[in-house]
Each structure stands twice: as structure tokens, then as C-alpha cells.
Amino acid sequence: MKRLALTLAACLLLAACAGSPAVAPSAQGGTPSADQVNAVAKNLYCPVCANVPLDVCGTAACAQWRGQIADLLAEGYSQQQVYDYFAAQYGQGVLAVPPARGLNWLVYLLPPAVILGAALLLGRNLRRWQAAPSAAKPGNDDEYTRKLEEELKARR
């Protein structure tokens, strides 16, 4: 019960957290603000720093890229235009997800196709198994569970 209370309390706390928006005073300001730059940089990767998103990468090269993003945003580029600019300059590898074109479609299509195929196969077999004549009745052949149910019934 204590754990239950803890979970409930934490969930309610979380609900409270969700309701309190972040404030953005002057230290976090600027045009564009560091937060706006990071929101774009989050989905970019420099070719040198392995799998570290640009918004958290500490190298000088990545800091320079963030500066470049700030310049582009200041010039009025949209988020997508910034991504297009970097992809054109440095290749699609800088984008956090491959753009949906050419071979990249396989990234998005192959896993769902395999999972759906397996689910269909499983569904078909389950229906076939269920349709097969069987003497099975709702019950339990796990001895422990059967005894547990009996004892609980006896206590009622």
C-alpha cells in the first residue's frame, strides 16, 4: 500500500509539474535565444562527434555550428530551412533522422512491414489453433494457481 501511495503521490506531483510553465527572463533571452538555438540543434549531429546531438556537444566545432544556427535563425530561417541548409552543406548524416526519400524510405517502411507481417502470421495461426476441435475448457493446469483459487474460494 505504501508503494501504491508513493506512485499516486508521484503521479500527482508530475501532474503539478506539467502545469507549471518555464519562465523566460532576460538571462535566457536574446534574438534568437539559446533555447531556440538548442531546439534546432537538438536534431543535428556534427560529422565528427559520434552520436552526440549538437545542442549538448562541448567541442569548439559544435559551438561554431550553434553560432551558425543562431545567425540563420536571426536571418529569418525556419527550423526546416536550417536543417535543409546543413544537409546541403554537410550531407544528410547531420540530420537526426534520414529525410524520407530514396533508400531512406526503408528506415520507415521495413520495421512496420516486418512487425505487421509477423502479427498477421501470428493472428492467422492463433485463429487456426482456436478453430481446431479441442477439449480445453477454461481452467488452469498450473497446480499452484489451481490450489490458490480453491483456497481463496474456501475462505470466502
Binding site: R3, A24, A27, L126, K147
Partner: protein
Amino acid sequence: MIADLGFFALLIAFLLALYACAAAAFGSQRGQQRWVSSARSATILSFPLLTIACASLVYLLANLDFHVQYVTQVTSHSMPMYLRVTALWGGQAGSLLFWAWLMAAFTFAVMLREWRRDRDLEPWVIIVTASTLAFFLALILFFENPFLRYWQGITGTVWAAMWQPTGAQPYIPMDGNGLNPLLRHPGMIIHPPMLYIGFVAFVVPFAFAIAALVTGRSDDRWIRVTRRWTLIAWLFLSLGLILGSRWAYDVLGWGGYWGWDPVEIAAFMPWLTGTAFLHSVMIQEKRGMFKHWNMLLVILTYCLVIFGTFLTRSGVLSSVHAFAQSAIGPMFFGFIALTFAVSLALLNKRWATLKSEVEMTSLLSRESLFLVNNLLFMGILVICFWGVVFPIVSEASGGIGRAIPALAHIFTGQRATVGPIFYESATGPLWAALLLLMGIAPLSAWRASTARTLGRAMWKPFAVSLVVLAGLLVGGMRQPLAVLALWICAFVFLVTVYEFWRGARARTGHGEHFFQAFWRLVARNRRRYGGYIIHIGVILIAVGIIGIELFQQETQGSLAVGERMHLGSYSIEYESLAEFETPDGRLVDRAVVNVFKNGEPLTQLYPRRDFYYESQQAMTIPGLRSTLEDDVYILLVDWEPVSASSATFKMYVNPLVNWIWLGGFVFIFGTLVASWPEADLQPVRSRAGVRGTAERA
């Protein structure tokens, strides 16, 4: 001298592993047990030999013998003794030796078991374990020898070789390069061994599975023999993943714990198939079904273990966790391909004999739901695998584009990045479905279950979970995804607690106090209730993940001394920054930041940047204030040099993130309970109640 000792111990262990394979095969073919026993002795002997090799390398590392190339690569004078010792797994050659030593330790333990009932399996278990060991020892001896020493020729050229070349003199550098700064963390002392133990322990169930396939045994003996080995492997792999996440949270400075990095995924994939296997074997044990599937799962798990080691060791993928790169990639690739092909060929050969003893009879039976559970785990595996290999595929496809110009616009050869967004959005629904299934499956019956029986079993926890749902909505939570995910967590938690309560209540009928009944219930049904404890751990981890993934807040700002920055109910004030050097070769820039909550002083944090002179690498160490409610996580991004009059900070508020670590403890505890050896069974009583059956369960 010590390097020679280590090298010869390695060489003899390698020769013995080869001999063990040959002798076991010969003994099995001729039906001569003495050859098999000799192979077994050879396999046993590899453990003390590799212990000598490991101890030799540790001795060289601890004494900073820079004549040895590996010692120069991973240690330096500034490193404390504990880091010199743990540098054993800090580089390519040492970590492969450590892997082989752990493998030999597990093989040693397996060989010492009582084989009387499994004489037919014995030679094949020896062949599989010894050949895996021989493969790793070959890699070490011929590609990644940690005992190579530096020599200098007359012209001044320095190179590494095992023995002194003619005319060359020993070359001893003044100091070493030192360990990668990312590895100088307490988490890194424990994380790799845990992960490696998890990896190598999965070789044991694989060896028994192959032995069963070769000998044509279609019963579940191999599963019963390896159940505890599988649980131990799974325990350590889980522990390795949890510790790795904690290390990433503390050291990598990105405000998170899991970045869907290829190396993280490489360690995660065998865990996925291992988890599916742990669930699926229960069906074979109870119902004699899914024999093909279990074989396939254990083969996949083994191949993914080798694949994971291949990814981290070959340098084929760049990663924040890939601390070693070399030319051993093709060897690994060949070994995986060969193992997979031979295993599948064997499975195909025995396909007919592994037919299920009974058929599935109900869509809602426990076995059906376990099958769905397996499908979901495999779905996540497919997403992970494809995400990891697609960058390589996209780059390699350039060859097609160059060969067929008409297709050049499709096969561009440009390497793609598959980042966290892909994995999170693709696996998210599958995780939610798995979580929900975790609440339903334990209530369904084996063989046959109907919607009515299932509904009767779950209506009480379901009703209480609706109260939680109402609480979330009344509390102001409006994010549909979060509401749904937290409701599922609450429902599964309640189902699991209800199962404990029902079991303990049944036992109180025999005159036991409730808590005594609870204790004995768990103690005498360790596998069942250990599993339920693991489920509670998973729920806690899920709550933590929901908290940080859906409610994480972040901001960044430059602060002058005394200025404040705000995020949610928290604010931070920049007080000062100090720069100093440490005896272990770091230049540290450490800020002092005051943290406030709702305007009231809360604590002081010290985010810092450590610059390692030896490796010319910087580390960003967060200032962290942790509670069960949330973490305030502050990074020092930049600062005004000399005057330190202003500094830039990145601030995160990570709600509920500590529930992940708390859940991790519960998870590991549950696995220990489930894998703890049962006490000697009591004689079966004729009129046994839950107590009696429990004692026999």
C-alpha cells in the same frame, strides 16, 4: 618476464581450447568417454591459465611498465591505483582478454557441474564453449595482443613486437597516454564487467541448445539445466545496462540517461531476445510448445552477443561508447555468419522432432499472451537492429549507385544518421503494449482462458486504477500520452500487488500471520513472485522514463555574477567560478551555483568542466540535486575567461528520473529472488494446499 608469462599462458589456453574441441568431437564420434573427459579437463584448465594472463597484465598495468604497448596506451603516472587496475578493460586488447577470462570462468563453472544425466550433451557443450573461447583467444593472440612491447631500431624507429627484433633495443616511454577520461568514473569500474558477464553467460544456454540440436533431444532438459544460467546472464546484462545508463547520466553531460547510441543498442538487443526467451521457455516447460521458437531465440541471443561485441570492438560504427577500434571486424563478421548459418542448419535438421506436443487452444490463454509478448519484443528488436545497421547500409549502397548511374539518386552512398526520435517514436507504442500485457498475462490461465474469467480476475485492480486515472486528470495532467502511460503503469502495479495479496491471503488460512504468509509465499515460489517483483521494478523504471521523456524541461542562459535564471519552480544564481589543477592531470573549472525553489534557497551546486592534459579531452560534469520528485541538473557550458564575470549554464529539470534507478534496484532484487536456488523439496503430501504446492512449485 611478466609479459612473457602472460603471453605463454594465453597461447597454451588457446591450444587447449582447440584440443578440447577436437577431443570432444572425436570422443563423441567414437563413443569414447575418456576423450570427452580429457576435453573437459582441457577446458577447465583454460580458466587458471587465463587467470595467469589477466593477472600478468594487471601487474604490468599496476606497475606502469611502459615497455608494454597496452600499458602505455591506457595508463599514466597521474592515474590512481584503482584506475590502473580497471584499465584492464579500458582498451581493445585488455577488454578482449577480460572477455575471454570471464568466458573461461563460466566454462569452468559449467564443466564442474554433475554431468551424469547429460553425458550425450557434454561433448557438444564443450565444443561450443571451447570454440567460442578459441575464437576470442585467436583474436587476442593474432590481432590484439596486450603483451606486445616497444622496441627501437638503430634509425630511431619505434614499433611494437612480442620479442626483441635483431638490432633493436627496448624502448620505454617516459609516461603513458592515460585512460580515456570518460572511463574514469566509478560506474565504469563496474559497468563493463557486468555487461561482459551478461554477454558471456548467454553462451551457456546457447551451448546446451546446440548440444540438444546435435544429439536430437527434443525434451526440455536443456532448458531446465540452463534456466538459472540464463537468469544469471539476464541479471548481469540488466545490471550492466542500468549502470551504463547511470554512467551516461553522470558523465556524458546531455541531461539524459539513454541516447539510443549504436553501442547502447548493441548491448540492449541481446537483452530483448533474452527477455523474450525467459518468457517463452516457461511455455515449453509447462506445455511442451514453442520448441522451435525457443531454439531460435537462444541462437539469436548468442549471435547478438557476438554482434554487440563486434559493433563495440570493430570500429564499424562510431559511438560515444566505442573505446576501441581495430581491424578485427571481418573476423567477427565471419564468426557470426558461420555460427548463425550452422545453428540454423541444425535447427532445420531437427525441425520435425521439435514439433509442439500440444496446440494452442485459446486466444486469451497465457501461452497466447506470451506469444504476443514475444512478438512485441521481436518488433522492438527489428526496429533497433534496422536503426543500427541502416547507416552502414546507406553508406554501402553507394556502390550500387556508382555501378548503375540510373539508380544513383536512390543509392546515394550518403551515410544516414538514425537518432533517438526514430527509436522513441517507433518503439514507444510497442513498449506501452508490453507494459499492458504485463498486467494481463499473469492473470490469464494456461491452456484456456476466456474474456469472462480474465475480466473476473482483473476487475478489482482495474477499478482502483480508474481512481488513479481520475487523480491524474483532477491533478491537471492533460497530456494524453502521459495520462495513458501512467494509467497503464498504475493498472499493472495494482494487478501485481493484488497477486501478492491473494497469495498471502490464501496462506493466512493455514494459521500464518499475514506478513509471515507473505514472506513464505515469496520464499517458496521464488520464480513466480521473483518475476512479479521484476515487474514492479519495470513499472518503476517506466514511471521514471515517462517522467523524464515527457516532462523534462530545459533552458540555457548566460548569467553575470549574482544574476538568476529560471526554469519551472526552480531558479539558479551564478555565484562564482574557480579554476585549479588537480594532481591527476586535470584543469578544473568549477562554478558555484545557488539553487532556489519557489524563490526559497534550496542548495548549492558545483557544475564543472574537467580538461585532461594527457588526452586533450574535456569532460562536462553536471551539478546535480536529486530527489524522488525530480532532479535539478546543471551544466557549465561556457564562461568569461580570466574574470569569470559571467558564465553560461544549461539547466534541466528531470521529473521522476530517480525512479529509474530505484526501479533498477527492485528489478535486480526480483531477478535474484527468481534465480535463488530452491531449498530441498519436502516430500509431497497427499492433501497439500497452497503451502504444499508452493513448496513443490
